[in-house]
Symmetry: C2
C-alpha cells in the first residue's frame, strides 16, 4: 500500500461519521501530503470501493459520499442540509424472490430521504 493510499484512508477514517465527499477527503489528505492530487484521491477511492474496502454512496443533488465503515448498514440523507446518517443494520431484508431471475446479487444499498431534526426545527 502506498503512502498516498494510507493517507487517504486515514483521512476518510478521521472524518468519522460525516461521510465526506472526494473534495473533503482531498483537503484532509493535503494536510498530510501537500502535493497529493485530486486524481490520486479519486483513483484510490474508486479502487478501494471497487474492492469493497470502503463504501461509495451516490446521492441526488451532489457528489458521491464515502464511508470507511463497510459493516452492513444503510444511510439516510437529509434533503435540506445534505448530511448523511447511519442506519442500524437489518433495515432491509431482500427476499430471494425479489431479485430478478438469474441476477447475481452483489450488494444492496438503501438510502432514505429525510429531513433531519435540526433542519426541521429551523424552518
Amino acid at each position: 500500500m502506498t503512502i498516498q493510499r494510507k493517507v487517504i484512508w486515514n483521512a476518510l477514517k478521521a472524518a468519522g461519521k460525516t461521510h465526506p465527499n472526494a473534495e473533503t477527503i482531498y483537503r484532509l489528505a493535503k494536510e498530510e501530503l501537500p502535493h497529493i492530487s485530486m486524481g490520486t484521491v479519486y483513483r484510490n477511492l474508486s479502487d478501494m470501493s471497487a474492492k469493497g474496502e470502503i463504501l461509495r454512496i451516490p446521492v441526488m443533488d451532489g457528489p458521491d459520499r464515502f464511508d470507511w465503515d463497510i459493516s452492513r448498514h444503510d444511510h439516510a440523507v437529509c434533503r435540506v442540509c445534505g448530511r448523511l446518517f447511519d442506519l442500524p443494520a437489518g433495515v432491509t431484508y431482500i427476499p430471494d424472490r425479489c431479485v430478478p431471475k438469474g441476477c447475481r446479487l452483489l450488494d444492496t444499498q438503501l438510502l432514505l430521504q429525510c429531513i433531519c431534526t435540526e433542519c426541521e426545527e429551523s424552518t
Copy 2:
C-alpha cells in the same frame, strides 16, 4: 403544462422500463421537437421529480436515471451493462425504530447492485 413538458413526459413513458438518462430522453424528445434544448429537458425532469411526478435515480458510475412509474417499487442495477431492473413493491420495510430520531421520512430508495443474467452468461 407546456408542450415541451408533455413531449418530455411522453418520451420518458415511451422509453418504457429502460429507465433512460437525461441524454436519452433529450434525443427522444428531439424527434418530436427538434429545437428542444438540454436545459429544458433537465429543468423539466428536475421539476417533475421534485414534485414527485417521476422518479430520479442516482447510480454509481453514471448519470441519473428516470422512471415515469412512481408506484412504490425499487430497482436493481447491473454493474456490467448498467441496465436498471424493476423490483416488486414491498422489498423494503422500514421499521420506525430505524429512522434516526426526529427525522421526517420523505422517501426510501433501494438500489440493488447485481450482475444480470445476460452479463453473467457472456463472461
